[in-house]
Symmetry: C2
Subunit: 196 residues, 2 copies
């Protein structure tokens, strides 16, 4: 996770920091290679005490893959959580010690069989910071070419399709693109494409 | 959660649905008024069996509050998960049986002391659908006026500040706005404002 420079011209500063909660106790409710759940007891600056739950996940990466003809490669993916198959970006969790861009290149390769000529960082995000410190790094992968067959996990049901920019905008504006790991980086990418 | 109409002109259809995983068993690992954790055993269409974890949370709402002078009201909020205080939108979870727009109006009132003259729906999103069916409804609250003092929970450390549209764009483009519940609806709202 990276902070943006304070006081850069035209960019409002972050709010003045509030006092941190004091941790009185921390219980690892659940732990697994996939996810964890922690329950902390904290003292509020106001003096009260509350329980605060935390979902634990490794950092993630999500990639906007641009083909050499300018189209965007999306994956059609089945999600067990809600049971639907919808359009997403190639994304996944970082391996231990893996650099974010390396993880992005790996997920792009594994899920689509493509490799990029050039990488560009996009703003990252906290998907659910009310209950998790989970952070996602986002990238644009420029000049993507197919370099082999996808190497998907048995649990991954994925197809790929290239979309024109106008189709991406229609998917976003219609509300059809509901995966935050897809919609958020694509919306940032569209602004950059407009600005620059 | 609402689906967009299939086959609307110019809007690409969803991908053809993949077969659903078959649920072989489901274990409620943790349950509380705040969140739950479920661990399912599922059979893949390929025949293999895996464990699939699910973080359980009620549906949420997030609000882009527009003041009568056109500025956007953000809240500076402390988040225990990562320890930082940053700019967000008023947001929160729906109460049982609460209609999304009612919940949005309630969160706006509780966190900022404001009420809206008119409500407009924005595309909703799944913040983390790789491991949770959690869904967030998003709205634009037009013509917001202060109607009283905020009614914040003891655990909420929040200040409010109005931002010009150019400041919102600077926060987004600089990567300073890292809360997905804030960045995603604001980016959708900016597109609508541009499209007119």
């Amino acid at each position: 996770m990276t902070d943006s420079p304070e006081g850069a011209p035209g960019i409002p500063d972050d709010p003045p920091p509030f006092p941190a909660f004091e941790v009185l106790g921390s219980e690892q409710v659940y732990s697994s290679p996939w996810c964890g759940l922690r329950r902390d007891r904290v003292r509020l600056p106001s003096g009260g005490e509350i329980e605060h739950h935390l979902f634990e996940l490794p950092e993630a990466v999500t990639v906007v893959p641009l083909l050499e003809d300018g189209r965007v490669l999306l994956i059609g993916q089945y999600r067990y959580s809600h049971g639907r198959t919808h359009w997403e970006l190639p994304a996944g969790r970082l391996a231990a010690g893996e650099a974010p861009q390396d993880g992005a290149a790996r997920e792009l390769r594994e899920e689509t069989g493509h490799a990029a000529a050039r990488w560009e960082g996009l703003p990252g995000f906290f998907p659910l910071n009310g209950i998790s410190a989970h952070y996602a790094h986002a990238f644009v992968a420029h000049g993507c070419r197919e370099v082999g067959a996808p190497e998907r996990e048995p649990s991954e049901q994925i197809l790929t399709r290239a979309f024109a920019r106008s189709e991406i905008e229609a998917l976003l504006d219609s509300g059809r693109l509901q995966d935050a790991f897809a919609a958020l980086p694509l919306l940032h990418w569209l602004r950059r494409a407009d600005l620059g």
